[in-house]
Amino acid sequence: MVRVQTEDFDPGAELDNLVAARTDVGASVSFVGHMRARNEDRVVETMTLEHYPGMAEKALSEIEAEAHKRWPLQASTIIHRVGPLKPGDRIVLVITASAHRQAAFEAAEFLMDWLKTKAPFWKKESGPEGDSWVSSRSTDEDAAQRWTASGKSD
């Protein structure tokens, strides 16, 4: 299940929804990304998430489908917020559910790595020094690449 929304989400309620009435799930992993008040040496008061409506949902669904192809997942949830956010606010939620923990852990990490580099979202930071669009980080690109490079994750 994939959602893009401005409103906050409740990670506990989302997890309950995902595994409700299921008896084949032995492990679930939840990841929540939060907004920090500081990025490198800059103070950030507001972070505004922009997306490409339509393509964002499509990209997240494709990434989710790829995870289900690679790992034996029973269910998954991806929620990404858009609009203005304040320090401490939740930005993104990924939940994976599987029979065993290894698939759930790995798939959650994969989903986060891929959604950061393959889904059309952009962050703008606003603070005392003005507004600036966040630059993409090569460490994020490296993290996404490890799932395509030869190795155990591929």
Partner: protein, 84 residues
């Protein structure tokens, strides 16, 4: 064709979208179109000055600069993704 600009492309060009009549799209590459756009004025020239950070989607599918625009009804320009 509907042309969309996201993030700092929108800031630099000064609009989120516009409608542009394309002729010969069956032979026109994304790169050719970027070249045309860059010649439309200062904001456009600044937006397209570094081709390494010009990412493009045709009908919501990311493509490279050598792709022929063809029958696409929507083209979007945006910087590398920074979500998550």
């Amino acid at each position: 064709m509907k042309v969309l600009y996201f993030a700092w492309f929108r800031d630099r060009i000064g609009m989120a979208e516009e409608e542009i009549d394309l002729t010969g799209a069956d032979k026109l590459t994304v790169r050719d179109f970027i070249h045309d756009l860059a010649g439309r004025g200062d904001g456009y020239a600044t937006a397209f000055e570094d081709m390494n950070v010009v990412h493009v989607a045709l009908d919501m599918q990311e493509v490279d600069h050598d792709t022929i625009i063809g029958g696409a009804s929507e083209i979007a320009f945006y910087p590398p993704f920074t979500g998550g």
